[in-house]
Symmetry: C2
Amino acid sequence: MTFRSRLAKHLARVEAVLETVLPPEGRAPERLHAAMRYAVLGGGKRVRPLLVYLAGEVLGAPLERLDAPAAAVELIHAYSLVHDDLPAMDDDDLRRGRPTCHRAFGEATAILAGDALQVLAFELLTTDSKMVSDDHQRMAIARELATASGTAGMAGGQAIDLSAQGRQMDVDTLETMHSLKTGALIRASVLMGAWSADKPPPEAVWALSEFGSAIGLAFQIQDDILDVEGDTDTLGKTVGADSARQKPTYPSVAGMEAAKGRAAELCEIAIAALSALGSPAYPLRDMARYIVHRES
Amino acid sequence: MTFRSRLAKHLARVEAVLETVLPPEGRAPERLHAAMRYAVLGGGKRVRPLLVYLAGEVLGAPLERLDAPAAAVELIHAYSLVHDDLPAMDDDDLRRGRPTCHRAFGEATAILAGDALQVLAFELLTTDSKMVSDDHQRMAIARELATASGTAGMAGGQAIDLSAQGRQMDVDTLETMHSLKTGALIRASVLMGAWSADKPPPEAVWALSEFGSAIGLAFQIQDDILDVEGDTDTLGKTVGADSARQKPTYPSVAGMEAAKGRAAELCEIAIAALSALGSPAYPLRDMARYIVHRES
């Protein structure tokens, strides 16, 4: 199977899973459920769920075991977008080419939808019957997601981001912010895939953790690059939004050339980390390249 | 030990545990951590953690096993207060006798602090080493908390609440809203205590579930009563706030006499559910009475 067709297969799969795990719109409270579905099902690259599937496959995890972890990490990502877009945060009007959740449903419902999406992720990980049966590994999966979402991960990165607007930042601090805000959840995606396999060897988990850290940071640097060089229609969000908000980005702090160099370097670091896993890890290698070469 | 001294002992314990599980203010991101601590450590009755300890004790769970579940449920409760108080939601200025979190730290940090408190609860339940060692039971504890916090619980109740302002509501719908918004988390507290014991007998878990459902609803009805008859200084929040907002409350929908009658009835239902558990459940019986007779 080519990488593109594998990606397409997993993408279709996660869309179907998300459709199922989200409460139906017809069930009360209808408006809250509608807002949750709007926030999650409105497209998106699904990079994090794809990484759950790809990493799980490397260690031989059956796809049905990976559905709940894949959906859970996307629910967390979607909640973070809903809250980041709020007027008190980035005050964004456009997301994935459509009005942001608070623009479509009002601020109160958007706050609540974000809250409910976050906890739905953990509900899923603690109730799904198709996940890996070893409760210790299930607990590890939930732990990876929780840790990556909290103040030592995504929420912490967002807090640094909030305090950084309009201020100078050095490259090290920027990399820390990016690694927390985006990198932690991407690394967690890879590890949630790994923990879904039967007794994953510790050295494989370690290699995938290294891989995840490197592509997580690379992903955000590419995001920064696209904020300058991307196209609003292709991206589905406003190009130049970060610069307009005087947010520090990799190109603004280190220059565009350094940003591209660092993304390429991290891609190589990620690929090198996979060497111990041999040919089964080739799709992850392709994924690393896709992440730093994507245009949206 | 008298009930009051038992309560005082558990209260001191949960305060110490919360102090420890919250990230220190000196650790980056400092402002986010300060807001989280402010939201949680600013007093409060700690009814939910007290129920974790009391229910766990009934089935013989050692106290140190109950610390993480007790803290986790209070973190969820605290996050819900921070978000409910936001300008887009209830727009409250006062909570526990102090400025609300967004008044003290700004709206963006308050949103983020709520988000981070919610996930810290799950981080705690997936990392704490003193909890019950059976991973299946640990998973059940996390599942109770997740389910009670989502759209079939607290978030769902809050959504009904949002849509209900200024509208007529019948008693059945009001009871559903109260059972979701407040009752689910209180019932979960009792069950998290139960799941922390060694192999809790199913009939005991069932009895405690019935107990939790009844006192959960009773708790919210008493809250409604105090919104009319309470004292702002004792409550630490503005008396009459719900009526002023034209929110349906038990007294406004069914009358004050019916509200008091229903609270007393639910207290008796809760106590009757404990009968199978014998004398070890006496502290829970006293807790049910405390919940419907409290003045704050």
